[in-house]
């Protein structure tokens, strides 16, 4: 600019307008995220209201049969049961293993080992879930069938649940590790000063002090397991079932259907329309509310622990 000297004190009109324009554009970008949330809620609610015009809320929430295509019954309980089975199996794998990894990485591992292990374990969460589903169906199920004294079906909840567990391990381990390593060193040193061993310090001081962070990671990981789709669709089959009660093992060896795989099945159905499509959105809102509640809960728990030490 040739007239730079005169514009240093007061920017001229065009420059001010330009600044405003950019600010407005960027604010618009940020507002998009709000639009996404409202879009999700409007899309789900609209069709769900239409669905409950056709099917009563009570029949949906207490019905024990989900057979939308053949019988036209829309009871969500079998899908919730399937979701719980998968989540329970994955929790049995991921919660202890993830916590073990977190303690190992933050308390025991040498920095060099840690710098290799951390990105390696992150890969577990980065592998496409469709590949995991394929892995569960074609490799894990035959392997478990050969090793375990169970009569596993081609599609079963056990291998799908185990593989979902693998996916959520990094979630548990990385969030728990953050919580564990944010425990102040003064607590550790005090415990060592009292004559504690490393084992005592880890189990009696560090882990209890990080409890809220660990619990938060557990809740988030379970929420992720509930929302997991492709592994379950491919490896756990598509047959909705109420839980087998006295014969608990049958829940693991037989095929189940979760909320997510229910949605995918309706989406893949030929000529899905009308109440069937609406049912998909009702399942969607069930899933959305469930996972959102868990995520908010996890955040609330985590916020509490932040206040404790800072």
């Amino acid at each position: 600019m040739s007239d730079r000297q005169t514009t240093t004190l007061q920017r001229d009109g065009v420059a001010v307008t330009k600044e405003r324009l950019y600010r407005l554009l960027l604010a618009g970008c940020a507002a998009t995220t709000l639009a996404v949330t409202s879009g999700i809620i409007i899309a789900l609610l609209g069709r769900t209201v239409a669905f409950f015009g056709e099917v009563s809320v009570i029949a949906y929430l207490t019905g024990t049969e989900w057979s939308p295509v053949i019988n036209g019954t829309f009871g969500v309980l079998p899908l919730i049961s399937g979701t719980l089975v998968i989540t329970a199996v994955s929790a049995a794998i991921a919660l202890p293993v993830g916590l073990g990894i977190a303690i190992y990485l933050s308390e025991y591992a040498a920095p060099k080992v840690r710098s290799v292990l951390k990105p390696t374990l992150e890969i577990l969460a980065a592998i496409p879930t469709v590949v995991y589903g394929y892995f569960a169906l074609v490799y894990v199920t035959p392997f478990l069938d050969g090793v375990l004294p169970l009569d596993l079906g081609t599609f079963n909840a056990l291998s799908a649940g185990i593989v979902v567990g693998l996916v959520i391990i990094p979630m548990v381990s990385s969030i728990s590790e953050d919580a564990i390593s944010s425990v102040p060193d003064s607590l550790r040193n005090a415990a060592y000063g009292l004559g504690s061993t490393k084992f005592d310090v880890s189990t009696k001081v560090v882990v209890p002090a990080a409890t809220s962070g660990i619990v938060s990671s557990y809740v988030l990981a379970l929420s992720r397991a509930i929302g997991e789709t492709m592994i379950v669709v491919i490896a756990a089959g598509l047959s909705p079932k109420m839980p087998f009660f006295p014969d608990v093992l049958r829940n693991l060896t037989s095929s189940v259907q979760t909320i997510t795989s229910g949605i995918v099945q309706v989406a893949g159905a030929e000529n899905a329309s009308g109440v069937l499509l609406d049912a998909m959105f009702a399942l969607g809102i069930t899933l959305f509310v469930l996972t959102l509640t868990m995520n908010i809960l996890a955040e609330a728990v985590r916020r509490r622990y932040r206040e404790e030490y800072n």
């Binding site: 960027l26 025991y108 390696t120 980065a126 169906l137």
Partner: protein, 546 residues
């Protein structure tokens, strides 16, 4: 413990017990870490084993490739690792050779699927107007240059749309390879020319640009006399040979030590070529691989596994994810800039910004199927009633643009959060310094903050791309066909994606699909993911070291 009052006087037995408990605990921790690592290794080994079939190869085969590939690469790696100069040149060389190779292959596949003539029309008009603006702005500085550049691109694209029919009827008779010359060779020649002008002199720059053009034309001439379609060769010569030659010559001239670092990629390629030719000449039984050029270049076949290929799915995935990046990345980075640089921390606007932050972290936790439902209702309700859009939109099967928007919404929180972190890590002194020199807020962001934050933003973008390329459930829900036989014809063509084919064929009743074709397709997906993740980690490490 009973001995709490004075633990040092604890008996031997008690000490032993505590030591044992500590040992047991530590081995438990190591075991759980091993569970994670071994699961990962098992997945790669079993799927890789089915994709490559190493059990069919004779011992001589392994010996042969050890001699031609493993041994030379090991010796070379040992040498390079000791020499810092060579190691940095080695990294540059690998990046240039394989980056340009992958880039050229991707550009060729996408342009070929979309139709070279269309790409050429939109590219020429889309870059003509900004070029005029840019040329004007070089001589006269103006407030309007910044906003005019994106606007001129838009005007150019609209003009291209308006003039499409007459222009297309004129150039329709021109051969494909000439269009590739316009789309690939001319930009590459210009780019390399500018690079050489910057590094050396304008004269060398002009020579480089002319040399690239001449080489591409000569290749085309040669191919035509041989009776081969010159399109691929034009793209390869200008997209790979050009950049590699320029970077190699530049390195040889500029660096005085560690130049042998340039050899890395050639030892790798040479080892594979030598191994393959010796394998054929000596008649050694090699791998029983499913991951072959046939798989990568053929179209899908539902009944003949040995003929089945995933070319259309690969092109579809690239097109969907590319369109997604084009749509979602600017919005994500823009939102992050607003939240970090503009949003105040007090008042109603501050509360709004906090609400947006909470909202973004909640969006990151929404299951991907729900995004699929959002995409479905968006394209059925909203675009279904917009008459100015192509009528097929919103009807099944879903289009590339629908898949791209759905995935874009899904990855938006990832891009925003990682960009926010990158912006936050830029030290405040830089901003204050810039303000002190009289720069405005936007000037500070553009010239000071963004350049500092680019590596962090890039890392987040690459991770988001990796996430999007493997995403399956939302695409199934918006109705993308799971089995596809032809690549999408453009942004408004029917979508296709690699993960969907894996989903469709994972439970195929023919075993050769289950443990052969699908395993190979999974390896392609896994390798893509690994390459992206390690690139992201490399960028992050380099950035942190600086």
């Amino acid at each position: 413990m009973a001995t709490e009052t004075d633990p040092t006087f604890e008996g031997d037995a008690g000490l032993w017990r505590r030591k044992l408990a500590g040992q047991a605990f530590e081995s438990l921790l190591v075991a759980s870490t091993l569970v994670g690592v071994l699961a990962l290794v098992a997945l790669f080994v079993v799927i890789g084993n089915d994709a490559f079939g190493p059990s069919a190869a004779e011992p001589a085969w392994f010996l042969l490739y050890f001699g031609t590939l493993v041994a030379p690469i090991s010796v070379y790696t040992l040498l390079v690792r000791r020499d810092e100069a060579a190691s940095s040149i080695n990294g540059l060389s690998f990046m240039t050779v394989f980056g340009s190779l992958i880039g050229s292959a991707v550009v060729f596949a996408v342009v070929d699927a979309v139709r070279p003539h269309d790409v050429a029309i939109y590219l020429v008009f889309g870059s003509l107007f900004p070029a005029i603006v840019f040329a004007y702005a070089r001589n006269r500085e103006s407030h309007y240059t910044g906003p005019a550049l994106p606007l001129s691109v838009l005007v150019g694209l609209v003009t291209a749309r308006a003039l499409y029919a007459p222009v297309n009827s004129v150039i329709a008779i021109v051969a494909d390879w000439i269009m590739f010359l316009v789309v690939v060779t001319v930009p590459v020649a210009a780019g390399l020319g500018l690079f050489v002008t910057w590094r050396w002199s304008r004269r060398y720059g002009v020579v480089t640009a002319v040399a690239v053009l001449a080489a591409a034309l000569a290749t085309a001439g040669g191919a035509i006399t041989q009776g081969i379609d010159p399109a691929v060769w034009v793209v390869l010569v200008s997209g790979v040979v050009g950049p590699v030659a320029v970077v190699s010559l530049d390195t040889i001239q500029r660096r005085d030590s560690g130049r042998y670092g340039l050899l890395g990629p050639w030892i790798l390629v040479g080892g594979i070529v030598a191994g393959a030719s010796l394998e054929r000449q000596l008649g050694i039984e090699g791998l029983d691989a499913w991951l072959t050029p046939t798989l990568l270049l053929n179209s899908w076949s539902s009944f003949r596994p040995e003929q089945a290929g995933i070319y259309p799915q690969l092109v579809g995935s690239i097109l969907v994810v590319g369109t997604m990046a084009f749509l979602a990345f600017p919005v994500g980075v823009g939102a992050a800039i607003y939240l970090e640089e503009y949003a105040p921390s007090t008042g109603w606007r501050g509360r709004l910004a906090t609400a947006l932050d909470v909202n973004i972290s909640n969006l990151a936790g929404v299951p991907s199927v729900v995004y699929g439902l959002l995409g479905l209702s968006l394209f059925q309700n909203f675009f279904g009633i917009a008459p100015w859009l192509p009528p097929a939109l919103g009807l099944r099967p879903a289009l590339v643009i629908a898949a791209a928007v759905t995935l874009g919404l899904l990855i938006l929180p990832i891009v925003i959060v990682s960009s926010q972190e990158a912006l936050r890590s830029v030290p405040d002194e830089l901003r204050q310094g810039s303000y002190g020199l009289g720069a405005s807020r936007w000037q500070t962001i553009r010239n000071v903050v963004l350049p500092e934050a680019v590596p962090g933003i890039l890392t987040g973008m690459i991770l988001a791309l990796g996430r999007a390329i493997g995403e399956t459930a939302p695409l199934v829900i918006i109705g993308v066909a799971t089995t596809t036989y032809s690549a999408p014809e453009g942004v408004f063509g029917s979508a296709a994606a690699l993960p969907l084919q894996i989903f469709a064929s994972a439970a195929n009743s023919i075993p050769a699909y289950r443990t052969g074709v699908v395993a190979a397709a999974s390896v392609v997906l896994l390798v893509t993911m690994l390459v992206m993740n390690s690139t992201a980690i490399l960028i992050r490490n380099r950035y942190e070291n600086n």
